[in-house]
């Protein structure tokens, strides 16, 4: 789906300028929904309620159960035992939970921040139509196509002892930096962030490219006429115009950071000794390795609240600015 959007980007670009004068939207698009409100066709109702019913069974009900399980001790075999907020109380004194929380914060800042900066930078670099620009865009987007598990396998080969990373470092005379990248608690987390970024930057770039295409070229023309420099055009035209895309990117980044699991699990399993543990991997290992499903559910609730807090916080601010 997203792959087609790259190809379609150049085509939509020339058409844009002809419409640029149309500030006031044509009337028909505004009138139509209002008249439809009165009689809602059963087809539309079906489209709403059938997915809702399916969601209710597959998503909402298990989610509610998760909240309930968070208040219990459950080994998956016998009946769950209600313990109130005991699990959350245990979390406070759990050093592994604290490491996981800290790592998730590092992950959010590094993975989130760098993929926004990198993706935005790449989008700026590659937004102009030049010969062969499609190749660069496609190249940056390719990692998104790979499954994260495949990405992890490839990077594990890079990182393995005497692998590509080690031989490159030795080749340039930095052999003393060589270490067991994924087995050293000081480097494991960062060694996993790198491939995650490698993939995410391409994705964010595409989102920003789409956003940049939607910016009215007349604004740039006006800014240029007013003598704005390239930096000023970026700062005062591009960035404010991308507000809509930013909220999408932020949601994507926060959700992707908090649910990052596959790449960490397939590269380090949260090890060595929990040093690259994220909340998500810790949740999985407490649930399915230590079979403490109640405690794991409590961690899941924390993850949910974190995601909600970050995203709601941003959305509320964004809405407030708009009104």
């Amino acid at each position: 789906m997203t792959a087609t959007s790259i190809e379609s980007l150049p085509e939509t670009a020339p058409g844009k300028s002809s419409r640029s004068g149309g500030r006031g939207r044509p009337g028909w698009s505004g009138r139509q929904p209002r008249s439809r409100l009165h009689r809602i066709s059963p087809l539309i109702l079906a489209f709403v309620f059938v997915p809702f019913a399916i969601e209710a069974v597959w998503v909402f009900w298990p989610a509610l159960q998760g909240f309930w399980l968070a208040l219990t001790n459950w080994d998956g075999l016998t009946a769950p035992k209600f313990v109130g907020f005991g699990n959350f109380h245990d979390m406070v004194s759990d050093p592994i939970f604290r490491t996981a929380l800290k790592n998730t914060a590092i992950w959010l800042v590094l993975f989130g921040g760098l993929s926004v900066i990198g993706g935005f930078g790449m989008a700026l670099l590659l937004q102009k139509e030049r010969r062969g620009v499609g190749i660069y865009r496609a190249a940056l987007f390719t990692p998104v196509v790979f499954s994260l598990v495949v990405t992890a396998l490839i990077w594990r080969v890079f990182y393995q002892p005497d692998g590509l990373v080690d031989s490159v470092l030795r080749g340039v005379g930095l052999g003393n930096l060589v270490r067991p990248w994924l087995a050293d608690p000081d480097t494991a987390l960062y060694a996993v962030i790198l491939p995650a970024l490698w993939r995410q930057i391409g994705y964010v770039m595409v989102l920003y490219l789409a956003g940049l295409k939607a910016v009215d070229p007349a604004l740039y023309e006006a800014a240029r006429v007013d003598g704005a420099s390239a930096w000023q055009r970026t700062r005062y035209v591009t960035i404010p115009q991308l507000k809509g895309v930013n909220s999408v990117v932020l949601s994507v980044i926060v959700i992707d950071s908090l649910r990052s699991f596959d790449i960490v699990w397939s590269m380090t399993k949260g090890g060595p000794y929990h040093s690259s543990e994220l909340l998500s991997t810790y949740m999985y290992s407490t649930a399915f390795q230590s079979t403490q499903l109640g405690y794991a559910s409590a961690i899941a609730v924390v993850i949910f609240l974190l995601a909600l807090a970050v995203i709601l916080g941003y959305l509320i601010r964004a809405f407030r600015e708009e009104t």
Binding site: W61, Q65, L77, P95, P161, G271, S290, T291, Q292
Partner: protein, 429 residues
């Protein structure tokens, strides 16, 4: 490559299984409902056998075993699942409304924990025909309430494996005591080879073998079992003594071993990149057969001669779900796998480094296996392995503590304190 594809397939199967379990409404929290909602019960009278023997040779041997059983008139459908997925999914299998009938699993407390939850089929009647099995096996297969819940089919041993040609080249002979062992390490290191191989990336549980062996050599098997059953403390000075001893050998460990799994550590040993490797005979499943001729092992060195010699001899076999659709057919199958001939079929078709549990069963007639069998038979005490003597839930606490110790041996007091705290949480749950 083929292994990868197979792994993915089995993973997907496991995922499907998980999805199916989630479909049964309310099944996530209610475990009391049984056959009420039989959705896809196989009415063909075919037993479903869930196997975790996913290594190539072991898997092939299981297929041969099922085929042979088919010739006796029984019908069994084999479903091989990657070992790691099997382990995490086993509780889900057993508590689902429509579980597979028979499972490969390990003897000891790791099986008894399911018996305690009343999830396993009572197979005492199968044991009526297994009178020739030694008492140790009987004890190992008995659940809390005195019922037999497990049918052992084979066991293997752990040892310090090495290449005969390399030991000859380096001019060292297999050591018997700890002091001799350290001397051998020193010699091998002087030849520019890391003496002790290990594989902790992805398979950190391999480190538990060192803990187990040092503990049963220094403190003895009874202390070890009590500790693992939650009756001791990991911050006990006696446990610290284990690590003090271990520290003496730490400089000889292969630093690269932290990065790769035991399969690669096996390759390193076979390729002469490490000197020796404390591992169970299952490593042979992923080793080329011709390399095995050059492989030998020695018993883990004796540290305190006054401690009765114990060896790790993990026992594998089968247990069955209490909800098995046709318990009589299950028992018939289990009675058959307990026979010497069935176990010989498995031994012959696998890498041949396991020993039939049936005393009449013939193990592969190689010097290696003969030596292994003799070592286990001479042992005064037998232990299973860390997770088998405790639980799969305790294993991750050991993994964290032991890998951290290998990395930061100076923080031993803190590590043991953390380990005790983590273990208490597991025992409390």
């Amino acid at each position: 490559m083929a292994g990868l594809a197979a792994d993915r397939r089995t993973f997907l199967k496991g995922l499907g299984m998980l999805g199916a379990a989630a479909l049964v409404p309310g099944c996530a929290t209610s475990t009391t409902n049984s056959n009420s909602s039989g959705s896809s019960g196989s009415a063909s009278g075919e037993l479903s056998l869930q196997s975790n023997l996913s290594a190539e040779q072991a898997k092939a041997a299981m297929e041969k075993l099922v085929e042979a059983y088919g010739k006796t008139g029984g019908k069994v459908k084999l479903n091989t699942v990657a070992a790691e997925i099997f382990r995490t999914q086993l509780p889900t299998y057993l508590t689902s409304a429509n579980p597979p009938d028979v499972y490969t699993w390990y003897a000891g407390s790791v099986a008894n924990s399911y018996a305690k939850k009343d999830l396993l089929l009572d197979v005492s009647s199968v044991w009526d025909g297994m009178q020739n099995y030694p008492e140790s096996m009987q004890k190992l297969s008995t659940g809390e309430n005195g019922q037999k819940i497990f049918v052992p089919t084979n066991y293997y041993w752990w040892g310090m494996f090495y290449r005969k040609s390399n030991f000859a080249k380096w001019g060292v002979t297999p050591p018997k005591t700890w002091a001799e062992f350290l001397a051998v390490c020193k010699t091998i290191q002087s030849k520019g080879v890391p003496p002790i191989g290990i594989g902790l990336g992805d398979t950190p549980w391999v480190a538990s073998a060192w803990f187990d062996y040092l503990n049963i050599r220094i403190n003895g098997a009874p202390f070890h079992r009590q500790l693992l059953a939650g009756e001791g403390r990991f911050d006990d000075p006696k446990v610290k003594a284990v690590f003090t001893k271990w520290k003496e050998a730490l400089p000889y460990f292969d630093p690269k071993g932290k990065s790769f799994p035991f399969q690669e550590a096996t390759s390193a040993l076979l390729g002469g990149k490490t000197g020796m490797f404390l591992i169970g005979t299952f490593f042979a499943d992923s080793a080329p057969k011709d390399a095995l001729d050059d492989i030998d092992f020695f018993q883990f060195p004796i540290i305190d001669p006054s401690v009765p010699v114990a060896e790790e001899a993990p026992t594998d076999g089968f247990f069955a779900s209490k909800k098995a659709k046709d318990p009589e057919a299950v028992k018939k199958f289990l009675a058959w796998v307990a026979t010497a001939e069935a176990q010989e079929i498995y031994v012959k078709n696998s890498s041949g480094t396991v020993i039939p549990a049936n005393p009449d069963g013939k193990a592969a007639d190689t010097p290696l296996v003969r030596k292994g069998k003799a070592m286990v038979q001479d042992a005064k005490e037998l232990t299973q392995f860390f997770n088998r003597d405790s639980s799969d839930a305790l294993q991750p606490t050991a993994d964290a503590a032991l890998t951290k110790f290998l990395d930061k041996p100076d923080q031993i007091d803190q590590i043991l304190k953390d380990w005790q705290a983590a273990a208490e949480k597991v025992f409390k749950a």
